[in-house]
């Protein structure tokens, strides 16, 4: 990058906030999806919203593409740098600005860690509901960009439900407030379209988030079934009965075996496990749990264990949370997929995935957020066997096509980013994508904000998904997949 431009950043932000050292630049070369790597020309770490604005202005004046970055835990390459561009790291904008418990909201900067929001208000009996399993490290800014979800979003809603207002630096360097707490204000729902836009519409510098009162009681049920079909039927029955669990998860036989090998959770030896968590006032939870027990029995559950204390619940969740990392116990390599199907298609889709696996000579383990149909199939393979990696990638892509055909989506929580751009063209028709581009152009006519993400570009089609490489955080035991 031209020295003149580097100097402009240094003048605007202060020299310590501008990184040019090649070794240091390399630490920004990828996010959680490590098979895509690009070293950026420059990294800036602004310390205030005004400094973010100043940095974006320089990018705008110099026509430099920029990529916002939170904690870099994204799993679709969203924070992957542009070689000739600037990475704007938001990690130093990590202040909690205002807590208003009377009105159940909190105002934070984008670099605040997700779990810190809850920690800040938990003594007062509140929590921040969106709970991605990376929550101990990922940032609110990254969560907003990805519309992050978690196991408990079935009941509480995804990030978009919990964002009340945003301050955003637009790609031309102007600052704008989107959303707000006032109902019925005339205007387009710009905050609604910004959440989940993966850093392509601007940079969040301040967010007002909704807080939720902690439920009085939490109970978690573990139910053993002969098959995922039976467990899936139980999920359908529970939802149809009008019970809205806080979380509802299924593990298939292969993932149970792996989890047992890894953490000895003491799960029953069964074809499929269903985990149902209910929360709320004690009398309501008791009544609904009795209902859930009966529905599970009717669908063929042959063992049910209720965990009521925090310690018991932790044991139940341990195997589930360890399921992804545990794949290492039963397979040298694996690819993590993220797709969504309608709940009712579960049995058929799992059968189809199984058949595809058989044909390819590969095993596929399944762990999923069953309540909202979000599958995380794990394609197991051995890189040392010639051709297997390629077959695994093909199978993993085929699984997304099954999701599309079943009327679902190519991503439920990890985003499109770099990884799934090509699949966007399979899920959406050309005019649908063009319309999204028109909206993008209204925010960013110069295409400077995270320019290469989300949208397919034919000449870059056929991108590889690549093997799953455990995130360093996962290896360190800081965060788990689930």
């Amino acid at each position: 990058m031209e020295q003149r431009i580097v100097d402009a950043f240094r003048r605007a932000l202060g020299a310590p906030c501008v990184i040019t050292d090649p070794m240091q630049l390399r630490t920004y070369e990828c996010d959680g999806l490590t098979n895509f790597r690009v070293v950026p020309a420059l990294v800036v770490i602004p310390e205030s919203a005004a400094a973010v604005q100043a940095a974006v202005r320089i990018c705008h004046d110099e026509r430099l593409p920029f990529v916002a970055r939170g904690a870099g835990t994204g799993l679709s390459g969203g924070a992957l740098p542009v070689a000739e561009g600037v990475v704007i790291s938001l990690t130093r904008l990590n202040r909690i600005l205002e807590v208003d418990l009377d009105n159940e909201c909190i105002i934070v900067e984008p670099g605040v860690i997700n779990a810190h929001v809850t920690r800040h208000v938990s003594d007062a009996g509140y929590f921040y509901a969106p709970d991605p399993s990376s929550q101990s490290v990922c940032t609110i800014g990254g969560n907003i960009a990805e519309n992050a979800g978690g196991a408990h979003c079935l009941k509480y809603g995804f990030t978009v439900t919990h964002v009340l207002a945003l301050d955003v630096v637009l790609p031309d360097g102007s600052m704008v407030r989107l959303g707000g707490r006032a109902p019925d204000r005339p205007g387009y729902d710009l905050a609604g379209v910004f959440v989940g836009s993966e850093g392509t519409l601007g940079i969040v510098t301040r967010a007002c988030l909704r807080l939720v009162k902690r439920p009085a009681t939490i109970q978690t049920l573990l139910a053993a079934f002969h098959s995922t079909d039976d467990a899936g039927a139980a999920v359908g029955a529970i939802i149809a009965a009008g019970v809205l669990p806080a979380a509802i998860e299924i593990m298939d036989r292969l993932s149970i075996v792996a989890a047992e090998a890894a953490v000895h959770a003491g799960y029953p030896d069964c074809g499929a496990l269903l985990l149902v968590e209910l929360d709320g006032p004690a009398s309501e939870v008791d009544a609904l749990m009795a209902r859930v027990n009966a529905l599970c029995s009717a669908c063929g559950a042959w063992e049910q264990r209720l965990a009521a204390s925090d310690a018991e619940r932790a044991v139940v969740w341990r195997g589930r949370k360890a399921a992804f990392a545990a794949m290492g116990r039963i397979s040298p390599n694996y690819i993590v997929q993220d797709g969504v199907i309608p709940r009712t298609a579960l049995a058929a889709v799992l059968r189809e995935i199984h058949e595809l696996g058989e044909r390819a000579g590969l095993r596929v383990a399944n762990v999923f957020h069953a309540g909202d149909g979000n599958l995380h199939p794990l394609v197991l393979y051995d890189r040392k066997v010639p051709g297997q990696e390629h077959a695994a990638e093909a199978l993993s892509g085929e699984i997304l096509r099954i999701c599309i055909r079943a009327g679902g989506s190519i991503t439920g929580e990890h985003g499109v980013g770099m990884e799934k751009r090509a699949f966007m063209a399979e899920m959406f028709a050309e005019p649908d994508l063009d319309t999204m581009q028109r909206v993008r152009c209204a925010f960013d006519p110069q295409r400077l904000a995270n320019p290469d993400k989300v949208f397919p570009r034919p000449r870059l089609c056929g991108e590889k998904t690549g093997p799953y490489v455990p995130h360093p955080l996962e290896v360190a035991g800081v965060a788990e997949f689930f």
């Binding site: 989107l178 707490r181 109902p183 005339p186 387009y188 989940g196 149909g373 989506s409 005019p431």
Partner: protein, 371 residues
Amino acid sequence: MELISPTSPEELAAVLAQASAAARPVVPLGAGIHQHLVAPPPPDALRLGTTALDRVLEHVPADLTLTVQAGARLGQVQVVLAGHGQWLPWDPPGGAAATIGGLLACGLAGPLRQAYGTPRDWVLGARIALADGTLVKSGGKVVKNVAGYDLHKLHIGAYGTLGVIVEVTFKLAPQPAAWRTLLAESADLAGALEMAARLAAPPLAPASVVVCGGGTHYRVAVRFSGVPAAVARQGQYAAGLGATALADAAAAALWQSLSDFGTPPDARPLVRLGIAPQQRDAYRTAIDALGAHDGVYQPTIGAARMLCADLAGLAAARAIVEPLGGAVVVEHGAGDAPRWGAARDSARLMHALRQRLDPAGVLNPGRAFVD
């Protein structure tokens, strides 16, 4: 004014394409119940009706999802859903006869939003006819989906200025097993608002809390929904606070009237106020400034709809509310008064968006907040 009611989304899109090419203004029209919420149409406009697009395209009870054409009437859709013990927890003004597309375009919601949120939380995806005649979809039919921009959100509350909604997919809810409504009375607004706050505070978690009335007679209506035991317990608690239970039939009629307040409008100006719910003092002083005859107030949401004698207090109310990020909108009977109030700082972005999606400016030109 000429009225065309296409029988397919493709036909509707073709009409739009022609209008765009000819730069002829188009007024998208559902049942016509809420046309007063925007400025009168240009005289040469073409009315593009959606009521012939009224089919339920797909209802999958086990998935709790529904895809419906935009011209279907909400009331009729609720009847279909009720047959399966399901519903859309959405009770906007005029909801019985108004079309789903029109209600979404106007961004309307009713008292149920206290517990169930607004349609934004229930719409999973949509099919839109753009001004140039392109038919596009956004979102999907599954409850969890982060692929691409959630463009359907843009059309909720856009008054048809970004495109014509032709199909919508909703997430549904099972109908609550039990309901209970209670009423309290107050001689003044302050007392009624205070009572509403108490009826919405933990351990109570009502589906709706509404204050209605005017002059020296206000009523506070609260309803609870859910598991019978929990509803009964909350009902008892609310009774302990001084509210009296209402019989089911009377309750249903009451909530219907509260949803429909001001619809259809009479000769008096109908004014809507929205402010962050924590701004309790500003909420009250703005209502006082407007000198409402009669109104439906949701203080715990920060929303109010009022019938006023005149608009003499409009500027004063806006001076209180707008600096706090709120808005006062004249829904009907604005006369020469500005309908929408001060522009937001994102107005430039809204113009840019409108420019990109409707470059010929044919959709409801000059009728909504955007131009």
